[in-house]
Structure formats: C-alpha cells, structure tokens
C-alpha cells in the first residue's frame, strides 16, 4: 500500500510540476488577455471598475425588464435544447403583429397547468403572478419601453446594446420624427462609444432604411467607412458579435459604394472584406461582379442592407432562414446580378 501511495504522490507532484511549467503556453487559452477595445483607460481604475460593475448590472437588469414590458409582466423564457428536441413548441404570437422576437421558441417561465406537477402550488402561482396563457399573444407597444432604454444608457453609456436596441424601437415609429429620434439617440451613443462598430453600422442602417421612397447613401457611407476602419484596426480582438457586424458592414459599404459608382473604393472594400471573411458568398459575388465574371443585371435583394434588427431582439430564425434561402438560391443558379435600390 505504501508503495502505491508513494507512486501516487510522486505522480501527482510530477503532473503538477508539468502543468505548472506549461501554464505559460496554455494561459492564453484558459485565461485570454483582456481586450481593451472600447475600454477607456479610466474604466480600468478599481473604483471605476466597481461603479462600472453596478452600472452594467443595473443596465442589464433594465434591458431584461424591457422584455417584461412587451409581455405586460408575463415572464418568458426560451425553450431549452432538450425541450426543442422533445418537440415542444413555443407559445407563438399574434400573426397580425410585426414580429419582435422568435415567439415560436419562447414559453412562459411559470408553467401552464398542463406542464406543471405542483398541483395547488402551481395553481396559486398562476393566480398570484402576472401569468396568462400566452398562446398567440400580442405585445404591448414597444415604444412604451423606451424610457427604460434612455435610463439604461444614462446609467451605463458604454452599454452599446441599449443604444442600438433603443434606436431600433424608436424606428418602430415609421414617421420622420421616429427616424430623427433614433438617429439622435444613436449619435449620442456614438459620442460615448466612438469605436463601436454596432452603433456605427446602426446609424448607417438608419440612413439606408427607405424613407420617402429613397435611401440616403451619402449620409450612410461615412459611418460605414468609419466602422470599416475601426474593425480593420482591431479585427483580431473583435468579439463574435462585432465580427458579424463587421461582415454586414463590408457588404453594406460595398453595395452603397456601387450605388454611388465609387467602384475603385468598392474594390478595395471587397478585397479587404474577403481577406477577413474569405468564405462569405455575397462578398465573393461582389468580387465576381467587379471582375466581370457575372453579369450585373440579375435581381437580388441587397444582402442585409435593410436588416436593422440588432442582436438582442432580432427575429433571428426569420433572418437566418431568409439568408439561408438566399444563399442556397444564389449558389444554384443566377449569375446575373443587379443591385437595385429605389
């Protein structure tokens, strides 16, 4: 026994020593270096960090409550993978409403009587909490939650999602007033986050949204260019979400530049975009059009240009499925491309 014990002890020490010696090589994997993109120097100060933690928590709390506003207090949750596998369906929403999120994959947090084993406890909870059957539910006016976004961005001006989602909700108001409010809101967000790719692309997207039968490429392009510069400088440090926004930015910028016939710059943008996203089909298509490999009068929708839905509340499945359909369609046949904007 003692030999076994000695062997185990020696082995443990050896393994620990090897692990200790190799920490340098695995450190970056286990504990990646903190990215300082968008983090101001003063934010790394201890006091600011603690305060920042509070601000971030408060903003996140408010962000989550915005969802409660939409559902009049009924707490919703996404279906788990297990539930989806078991074929459980979400509650769905009113088909006559503009989609806010993927209602096919959400259910109420308080379970319905059918899904609840708790007997009277469940019945009482369904009576005391703000619970109702949400099948085919409608939403409260998203604009009602706008004060929350104003508050969360006031509390934490670095909370980019607050700025972008808030502007998205402001754009719910189709009037000129809604557009100007959204733009002003984003501009304020940009003041606090001058290197935010999300905000820059959202501003551009606001200009590119069709108003009075036209899109404002001239105003959008400077923001798309700025986003491109920021992204190219920090590409290695970008998060997954930022990379996605960057890809959209390259596509939007390329399409916008083509619309204004700035083909030289479009070429440079497409080359740079393909360097970062070599697999991207739309960028590849733009490249082939620029090189005359395909005819430019085939009609497609400009990829993602009018996709204004920011990360948190976008109808992901809807968008993804449209993209997928579009991609498979483009892979199969038409080689004639015409980028047409009115």
């Amino acid at each position: 026994m003692s030999k076994v014990g000695t062997f185990l002890a020696t082995s443990s020490v050896a393994v620990a020593a090897v692990m200790g010696a190799s920490t340098g090589s695995i450190r970056d994997e286990v504990n990646p270096p903190i990215k300082l993109v968008g983090l101001e120097a003063h934010d790394s100060h201890a006091a600011a960090s603690i305060l920042g933690q509070f601000r971030t928590s408060a903003s996140s709390w408010l962000f989550l409550h915005a969802d409660l506003y939409l559902h009049n207090g009924v707490e919703m949750r996404p279906l788990t993978d297990d539930e989806i596998k078991r074929g459980r369906k979400g509650v769905g929403s009113n088909p006559n409403e503009q989609k806010l999120h993927d209602d096919a994959k959400i259910v109420t947090v308080v379970p319905s009587a059918r899904d609840d084993f708790r007997g009277i406890f469940g019945d009482v909870e369904r009576t005391t909490t703000s619970y109702k059957d949400m099948t085919g539910h409608s939403h409260n006016k998203p604009t009602d939650s706008l004060p929350l976004f104003r508050l969360m961005t006031l509390l934490d001006p670095q909370f980019v999602q607050g700025w972008t989602t808030g502007s998205y909700i402001m754009l719910w108001d189709k009037s000129e007033d809604g557009f100007h409010k959204a733009l002003a809101f984003l501009q304020e967000g940009l003041k606090h986050n001058p290197k935010s790719i999300d905000i820059l692309t959202e501003i551009a997207a606001s200009y590119l949204k069709e108003r009075n039968g036209a899109r404002d490429f001239d105003s959008a392009i400077p923001y798309l260019r700025r986003a491109r510069t920021v992204a190219a400088e920090n590409f290695e440090h970008l998060s997954e979400e930022e990379r996605e926004a960057t890809l959209k930015n390259y596509r939007r910028l390329a399409v916008s530049l083509r619309e204004l016939q700035l083909l030289g710059e479009e070429r440079a943008v497409v080359i740079e975009g393909r360097k970062f996203f070599p697999e991207d089909i739309p960028l590849d298509r733009f490249w082939r059009v620029l090189n005359g490999e395909i005819v430019s009068d085939a009609e497609i929708n400009p990829p993602s240009v009018i996709k204004l839905v920011p990360g948190g509340t976008k109808p992901a499945s809807e968008i993804e499925s449209k993209d997928a359909q579009q991609d498979s369609h483009q892979e199969e046949a038409p080689v004639r491309v015409k980028v047409r904007f009115i």
């Binding site: 409550h65 207090g73 084993f117 708790r118 406890f121 009576t127 909490t129 104003r150 508050l151």
Partner: protein, 257 residues
Amino acid sequence: MNFPAYRALARCVVLESLRRKDLWVVAILGFVILLASSTLGFFGFKGLEIFAKDMAVTVLGMFSTIIAILTSCRLVPDEVKNRTLYPLLARPITRLDLLVGKLIGAVVVTWISFLMLAALTALALTIFHVKFELIMVQYLLAKMLGLVVVCGFSMAFSVYMTPSASATVAFLVAFGAPMVTRGLVLAAAGNPSLTPICKIINTVLPQTSLFDLGGRAVYLGWGLVPVWVMGFLFAYGLCYSGAMLFVSWLKFRRQAV
C-alpha cells in the same frame, strides 16, 4: 400558548431593533429611492410609471427579505453569545415559548421595516402620478405573509448553524427557491419518473414566489387575486413557519446553553 410571554419577548426584540437603529437603514434606503425618483423626473424622463412601480416592488421585496433574514438569523445566536439567554430561560417559560416570542418579534420588526419602506416608496410613486390600486393592498398583505415564512426558515437555520452560515443559506433559499422550483418543473417535464422526488423537494422548499404579487401590481390590466388564494397564502404561511418553529425546537429544546 403563553401569550403574555410572547408579547414580552417580541417587545424586547422590537425595542432593541428600533434602538439599535437597524430600521434607520431602511429609512435611508427609502429616502434614497425617493431622491432617485425625483432625479429621474428632473432629467425629464416621462412614461416611467411602470418602471417606477417595478423598481418599487423590487426594492421592497429585496430589502424586506434582507431585513427579515438578518433580524431572524441573529435572534437565538445573539442570546447565546451575549449570555442574555440565561435570565430568560430561568423564567417559567418553555424553550418553545422563547422561540415563538422571538419569531413574533422578528416578524414585527420586519413588518415595521417593510411598511416604513412601503410608505416611503408610495410617496416616491406619487412623483410619477402612479394611482393607488387595490391590488397594491393585496401585494402588501401577501408580501407580509411571505416575510413570516422567510423569518421562520431563517430562525430555523440559525439554530442549526453559525449566524453567518445561516444568513448565507437563508439568502440562497429566499432568492434561489423559485429558481429551484423552475428547475424541478423542467426536470419533471423532461423525465416524468423524477416527478415524485421533484414533488417532495418542492414541498420542502419554501414557496416564496407565491407571495410575490409584484407582477400583477406593476403591470396594467391584471385583476385582483381571489380571496381563497389570499386565504391559502395565509394558511400556508402559518403552516410553514409553524413547521420551521417545530424544526427549530427539535434542536433547541435539548441544546446545552
């Protein structure tokens, strides 16, 4: 039932708490909420009525629970630590009488704090022109019953653990029990064979979420809670805290002091 003893013990807990200025913390918190609400109005935020109500019930729920736990968790251990227990136990009362009196004291202290905070937040809500609705009364009543449950299990934990450990566990139970319940529902739905064990765990867990009518009070269009439900909450609160008293007594009745 030794009501005069309960009254004497409870009065002692309340007087001590009032004079120890524990409740000042609540008053200051209320004042901060009031100030913060005014500040929001100053910044020109409009349409924050629901948010203000939401904030009010969240703050009320959270701080009253914290006060309930911190008050109840130190009742018995403090008596032992400060040696004030001896003259008490030298009186012709049972140890159960002592626990009941202390628990009543903790509940009264918690209720006073809760109502103080509620009054201050109600004042703050008037800044947002929030109308007072009957559901708010139901919310307050249900919350007060829920606080009895919190006091009950916090005191029970304190008899079995050190004060800091009992406070930590009480916080976990108070704020984590609803999450565990959700998890149990999911687990039972995923694997029906787990339903019996989920039922047992759920019965043992305090159903603190049942007492939170905040959602109905905050958002518009929700009706009043039926009387039978309020009756159920009352009965459940009484039974659960009674059970917790019994659990405390099981250990405390023979505990050497």
